[in-house]
């Protein structure tokens, strides 16, 4: 048993050193990550839901930062201090440490359960801007005062219908500021996904399905709307930068203008409904 088990300086408390390094670096990095980097993460403050997501990301990045620092400090320290100095050196025959394993399991489990509980709270509060299907369960408190707007996806554009204004259909999305909106997302052909980037809204547009999203708008805003589910040939062109969140008075005058413009064609459209059943499609492109 003449094996040299330990590297030079084997009596140093390596574990304590790593712990101190980790705590020190985390104490610097985590606040920077949360309070400097966190607020920069989109989608920004375009809606209450978007703000909720930013807060959510701040918490997640605050939890991730110490984990990243831990693994990197541990790895870096190990690789520098324990690299082989002599070709015959072997490591100590340690095969485990049940106390450390138990602590690791407890700490990771608590972290994960905490994150899941936090995420659930943030989701249940107001739906967090995600599509909820025909019967939404995670509702904002004032959901029965919401204004309905329908989003219809088809290859390769979105159109919008306003049931409270006689089923008016427009090519661009206009929303009043400071209003709770209930978006009904559906599709006429394949699966699309309605993504209003700076509103923090995303919902798949499925044929035959009414996918509901709640979003509470805040201040006037230029919207950036994209399709985020591959929907065929011109998917890359299915975007629209002309939508707006406008003040309530501006919205009222915009509606009047649109009614004058598109009112005459309303009678050719199918009556407003949560889903539409177009002619069975023939194969194309």
């Amino acid at each position: 048993m003449a094996i040299a088990h330990t590297q030079p300086g084997g009596d140093i408390h390596h574990g304590r050193r790593v712990l101190v390094l980790w705590l020190a670096i985390s104490a610097i990095v985590t606040p920077i990550a949360v309070f400097v980097v966190g607020p920069l993460i989109p989608p920004g403050n375009g809606s209450v839901q978007a703000e909720g997501q930013v807060f959510d990301n701040q918490v997640l990045i605050g939890v991730s930062a110490p984990i990243i620092v831990f693994v990197l400090v541990m790895l870096g320290y190990t690789l520098i201090v324990f690299h082989q100095r002599d070709a015959v050196l072997e490591g100590p025959p340690v095969r485990g440490d049940s106390r450390l394993q138990l602590w690791w399991i407890v700490i990771t489990s608590v972290t994960v359960l905490g994150l899941a509980a936090f995420g659930t709270y943030e989701l249940v509060k107001d739906g967090a801007g995600g599509g909820q299907g025909p019967s939404a369960t995670f509702l904002p408190s004032n959901h029965n005062q919401a204004m309905d707007v329908q989003v219809i996806g088809q290859q390769w554009e979105f159109t919008y219908r306003y049931p409270t204004y006689g089923g008016l259909e427009t090519p661009h999305l206009y929303l009043p500021a400071d209003t709770l909106i209930r978006l009904h997302v559906t599709s006429l052909d394949v699966v699309h996904s309605f993504w209003a980037v700076n509103l923090g809204v995303k919902a798949d547009a499925n044929p035959g399905t009414d996918n509901v999203v709640y979003v509470q708008t805040k201040h006037p805003l230029a919207l950036n709307i994209r399709c985020s589910e591959l929907c065929g040939l011109w998917h890359g062109y299915m975007f629209d930068g002309q939508g707006r969140v406008v003040s309530q008075s501006e919205f009222a005058s915009w509606i009047k203008q649109q009614q004058a413009l598109y009112g005459p064609v309303l009678k050719y459209l199918p009556p407003y409904s949560t889903t539409y059943s177009p002619e069975p499609q023939l194969r194309a492109g």
């Binding site: 048993m1 003449a2 040299a4 330990t6 390596h14 989608p43 997501q53 959510d56 990301n57 997640l60 984990i67 990243i68 693994v71 790895l75 190990t78 690789l79 324990f82 690299h83 050196l89 072997e90 490591g91 100590p92 025959p93 340690v94 095969r95 485990g96 440490d97 394993q101 690791w104 990771t108 489990s109 994960v112 899941a116 995420g119 659930t120 989701l123 801007g129 995600g130 599509g131 299907g133 369960t137 052909d189 394949v190 699966v191 996904s193 993504w195 980037v197 809204v201 995303k202 798949d204 044929p207 994209r226 985020s228 591959l230 040939l233 998917h235 890359g236 062109y237 194969r283 492109g285």
Partner: protein, 629 residues
């Protein structure tokens, strides 16, 4: 030219080209295609007149592919043995030729030959998928399109499908087939003909996917969502056929591995002495066996939608796109762990060898892999967070997804603690294994963002997700794939790989990989969806950065290819029997391993991780200094 031609019988070359081999397989495969096409054309034109509604005939395409595959397999000789048995001949392993280069080009039941076949076969399709990636990044150099939209989508689809389909066997194919029987002390796999079948089926599948370019490609990406898959042109049939055959291959491979490990372990090879690599293979095989059939079912419905005009996925006909999404992701999420778990296995197998320390927390590492296996079946609807399906179950899927990070954390703990106080050697395979820690850390933590539904609202379907799974799959699987190559290829070929080129390959690949995918997280957050041919001009700088880095990444692959060609064809330095001083049994055998593996079946008295306690002697070539005592 090769050693094989002098060693085999005196039959002239032209005579040896006739028979059941790759040549006949290709001839019969092409003949089968035309036969199927012809039958389909005539059957549908006359008897099923309502197909006249469309100008397409998917039936003849599917029949062509099916008969083509059947012809290909007959040409390789897969019917020989069943027919011989039907006529009363005794069972044999006649296809296990002992020598000759020809055995690499046909049906061979030697698991070591199949391993090498897999290595080069998979390598070819990996290169094709990689070239597609280069073209995708070329297109994204500019916000305005360079290729036409359809060609771009085909490139994206080919890249994704090729990688997700073929690379499922990246480690199980070459390395598990070669080393699992050796590690457990067996002379062969449980089902050697099925082993060869999985390989040739995969090659047929890959070729079929490439034929999609003759039919205009397919617009759906690797997910193949309905009803878009019904709307798509002929090229879609290649996708469906490809993935179904890959599914069959995966399922059989998993079954074969499980049967081998369960039934063929040598005396003393108890479950608690199984090398951790074999445990990883077992976990992956369970996923293969249980997940792949669901994919095949989903694709069969897609096939019927396209040929028999059923409406499984078409809501106006009473079907639902949710059905496809559910089935696909019930396969699709275990699929990503089919890609990740072999990475864990290779990592934990390599770390003890180069830290000169036993694997730390063996039971915890096994529990981690089996935990990932179990949980990966419970998370699939996180791919559908925004789809509106079962929206009040989202907290459950959020929880189950985040729970996976607990068993994944076991791998981190066991890996880090194996290194801790070790005597670490920075060899090329060790460098690739160490890169896993960094890559999978980023990949795993970005996965926490994706699993959190509110945070996922913005990330879903964007480049953020794309960067996330490239970190887990490329950073987790492909890096350990190369670790396995540098680690085990000297044993498989008996030839050393050049170390200097290996280190250049590692550093260029590691830096270029991170430089490619880190900016793409930001691109996703800034609103760039996946699979778009155009993007907002303000994202051009980051996209250009990623593209240039991706080209460097591509060049690093050329360094590897150069290393392979140089080391195997030109330098041809004989590898030592045990260059890494490993205690595992495959390193105590000659390089390359002889046909029967062992003179006699070995008896195991410990696991292969007894480093540092001097109890197990490290087998060394004569003349080298001993480690201790």
């Amino acid at each position: 030219m090769s050693e094989g031609s002098t060693a085999t019988s005196a039959r002239p070359l032209w005579r040896r080209l006739i028979g059941f081999n790759l040549l006949l397989a290709v001839v019969l495969g092409v003949a089968g295609w035309y036969l199927g096409w012809y039958i389909g054309k005539h059957a549908t034109a006359t008897s099923l007149s309502y197909f006249g509604d469309t100008d397409q005939n998917d039936i003849s395409v599917f029949l062509g592919y099916t008969l083509g595959v059947v012809g290909f397999l007959i040409g390789l000789g897969f019917l020989q043995y069943p027919l011989a048995r039907l006529r009363g001949y005794p069972p044999s392993l006649r296809e296990k030729e002992t020598e000759g280069i020809g055995r690499y080009f046909g049906l061979c039941t030697d698991h070591k030959v199949v391993g090498i076949q897999y290595f080069f076969g998979i390598g070819f399709f990996f290169a094709v998928g990689g070239l597609n990636a280069m073209l995708i990044r070329f297109e994204l150099l500019r916000p305005t399109p360079v290729f036409n939209s359809g060609n771009y989508l085909t490139l994206v689809g080919l890249h994704g499908t090729m990688m997700m389909g073929m690379m499922t066997s990246a480690i199980l194919g070459p390395f598990a087939n070669y080393f699992v029987p050796i590690m457990i002390g067996a002379r062969r796999m449980a089902f050697p003909r099925i082993e060869s079948f999985t390989f040739w089926l995969l090659m047929a599948a890959g070729t079929i996917l490439l034929t999609t370019v003759f039919f205009g490609g397919f617009p759906t990406g690797w997910t193949g969502y309905g009803p878009l898959n019904d709307q798509a042109n002929y090229g879609m049939d290649a996708y469906i056929m490809f993935f179904a055959l890959v599914g069959v291959s995966m399922c059989l491979l998993g079954m074969n591995m499980l049967a081998t490990v369960v039934t063929m372990r040598a005396p003393g090879m108890t479950w608690s002495r199984l090398p951790i690599f074999v445990w990883g293979v077992v976990s992956t095989s369970i996923l293969n066996l249980l997940a792949a059939p669901v994919l095949i079912a989903a694709l069969a419905m897609g096939l019927l939608d396209r040929t028999a005009q059923t409406t499984f996925f078409i809501s106006s006909g009473g079907g639902s796109q949710y059905l496809y999404e559910n089935l696909f992701w019930f396969f699709g999420h275990p699929e990503v762990y089919i890609l990740a778990l072999p990475g864990f296995a290779v990592l934990l197998e390599i770390l003890p060898v180069f830290s000169r320390k036993p694997l730390w927390g063996y039971r915890l590492a096994v529990a981690g892999m089996l935990g990932v296996t179990l949980l990966s079946f419970l998370v699939w609807q996180h791919h559908l967070f925004m789809s509106g399906i079962n929206s009040n179950l989202r907290p459950f899927y959020m929880l189950s997804t985040e729970l996976i990070s607990i068993p994944t954390g076991f791998t981190f703990l066991c890996g880090l603690m194996t290194l801790w106080r070790g005597s670490i050697r920075f060899t090329v395979p060790m460098l690739f294994a160490l890169a896993w820690f960094f890559n999978f850390l980023i990949g795993g933590l970005s996965g926490i963002f994706n699993s959190d539904t509110p945070s996922d609202t913005t990330e879903h379907g964007s480049f953020f997700v794309m960067a996330h799974f490239h970190y887990t799959i490329m950073g987790g699987l492909i890096f350990t794939f190369f670790a396995a190559i540098y680690f085990w290829l000297p044993k498989m070929t008996g030839l050393e790989l050049n170390e200097r080129l290996g280190k250049i390959h590692f550093w260029s690949m590691f830096l270029a990989f991170n430089s490619t995918f880190l900016p793409l997280f930001v691109v996703g957050f800034k609103g760039m969806p996946r699979r778009v041919v155009t993007y907002a001009p303000n994202l051009q700088f980051l996209n250009d950065w990623a593209s240039v880095s991706a080209f460097v990444l591509g060049l690093s692959m050329l360094v590897f290819l150069g290393n392979l060609v140089y080391s195997l064809l030109f330098a041809r330095v004989r590898a030592e029997r045990n260059p890494w001083e490993s205690l595992s049994i495959e390193w105590q055998l000659p390089s390359p391993v002889p046909v029967q593996n062992f003179d006699r079946i070995p008896t195991f008295e410990s696991d292969p991780y007894g480093y540092g306690d001097g109890a197990v002697p490290v087998a060394r070539p004569a003349g080298a200094p001993a480690t201790g005592s």
